[in-house]
């Protein structure tokens, strides 16, 4: 996965604070194709509508209407593999009862750390999808050979 062209990581960032969202987008957009939204429901709609799905969804924990853990649980239920990154303060995280095992980036974080983690998670998503496709194709061939 490179940082340019069609091969770039596709990242969706969800945070209810526009200034935080814009600044994260500025940090990431040199390395990835970034979409942002302040509404978790809009994030789910984007995932549903997208013809080329995101590799990574980054979500803040504390948001009105739906918290980041709940949003990422919904993302993880999608058929295609998407890496989920919860961005949160330590205090909110320990109060969040997050048993879902999403990757977590604790605030405050260095921008370099965010870039490295998001690119790594995008590679993981790409790899898991490729493996899934290979396994799917192989089991399809296996069924055809048996029938």
């Amino acid at each position: 996965m490179s940082g340019s062209g069609d091969d770039r990581a596709r990242v969706l960032v969800v945070d209810d604070e526009r200034s935080v969202l814009d600044s994260i987008e500025a940090v990431l957009d040199e390395h990835a194709n970034v979409r942002t939204t302040t509404h978790p429901m809009e994030a789910l709609r984007l995932l549903e509508a997208g013809d080329r799905s995101f590799h990574v969804v980054c979500a803040d924990y504390r948001m009105p209407m739906m918290n980041g853990v709940t949003l990422l649980q919904r993302v993880a239920q999608r058929p295609e593999y998407i890496s989920c990154l919860l961005i949160t303060g330590a205090e909110e995280y320990f109060r969040s009862d997050n048993k879902s095992g999403h990757y977590v980036l604790l605030k405050p974080f260095s921008p370099d750390r965010l870039v490295a983690l998001v690119l790594q998670l995008a590679r993981v998503a790409q790899m898991k999808r490729t493996v899934g496709e290979l396994v799917g194709a192989q089991s399809g061939r296996h069924r055809t050979a048996k029938s």
Binding site: E17, S19, V20, D22, S23, I24, A26, V27, E30, R62, P64, N67, T70, G89, E91, E92, F94, R95, D97, K107, P108, F109, S110, P111, D112
Partner: protein, 226 residues
């Protein structure tokens, strides 16, 4: 006629202050994060220009912004904890006594019924636990105008489960109710459940919503004394 002194006032005020400090800390940290990200972006753009090469104060001040933001983050993490402001008194406590103190100090008109076994015990700070329970009782009592509140407790393996039940319209989303400053009650700040949850967590416990056919059933679970 003098008003009777509230025996839980000091602990409650400290707990509320701690909760407000936590909200301010969260908001400040988000703003500092946005400044740090914006500085990172600008530095990358400017560092390839002549301005960066010809004006030594430009790289110096970008470094200063980064260092000061990191230092400010460290400052707001020096937490204002209730434990630092008041010496806690941890002892083995009867759950019935905690419930009794909390119900007695509750600032409500509602009828409160207690059905708590006398032999169930937990370890903790009586005043802190009473503040947490009072917040839950008051929350239940304000569920509607003529609310009835019932307090129950039982042991489940190594946990003591303290239950506050009301006959109001019910509570479907505890996560939403737990959001700081969220309230449906006029004149309230919306920190009671947060205060209760923080105190529960400090005692190794938690707050959850139990199943009920009518009203709300809030459970405060704590490690029980064997």
């Amino acid at each position: 006629m003098s008003r009777q002194r509230d025996p839980l006032a000091l602990v409650e005020q400290l707990a509320v202050a701690e909760e407000i400090a936590s909200i301010v800390r969260h908001d400040l940290r988000n703003r500092l994060g946005a400044i740090r990200n914006a500085g990172y972006f600008l530095k990358r753009r400017v560092s390839t220009t002549e301005l960066w090469a010809n004006e030594p104060r430009v790289p110096k001040f970008f470094g200063l912004i980064e260092d000061e933001v990191v230092a400010a983050d460290a400052l707001i993490h020096a937490k204002l904890a209730l434990a630092q402001l008041r010496e806690r008194c941890i002892a083995e406590l009867s759950v019935a006594r905690c419930m009794d103190v909390a119900a007695g100090a509750a600032r409500v008109e509602a009828e409160i019924e207690l059905a708590v076994p006398s032999d169930l015990r937990v370890s903790g700070d009586l005043e802190e636990l009473a503040v947490a329970l009072r917040a839950l009782i008051e929350n239940a009592a304000e569920s509607h105008e003529h609310a009835r509140v019932r307090l129950e407790a039982a042991r489940f393996e190594d946990r003591a489960r303290l239950v506050i039940i009301d006959d109001g319209p019910g509570l479907s989303d505890l996560d939403r109710a737990m959001r700081p400053t969220f309230t449906t009650k006029p004149g309230r700040v919306g920190l009671g459940l947060n205060v209760a949850e923080r105190i529960a967590r400090r005692h190794g416990g938690s707050i959850s919503l139990g199943p009920t056919e009518r009203g709300a059933r809030l459970c405060l679970e704590l490690p029980a004394v064997p």
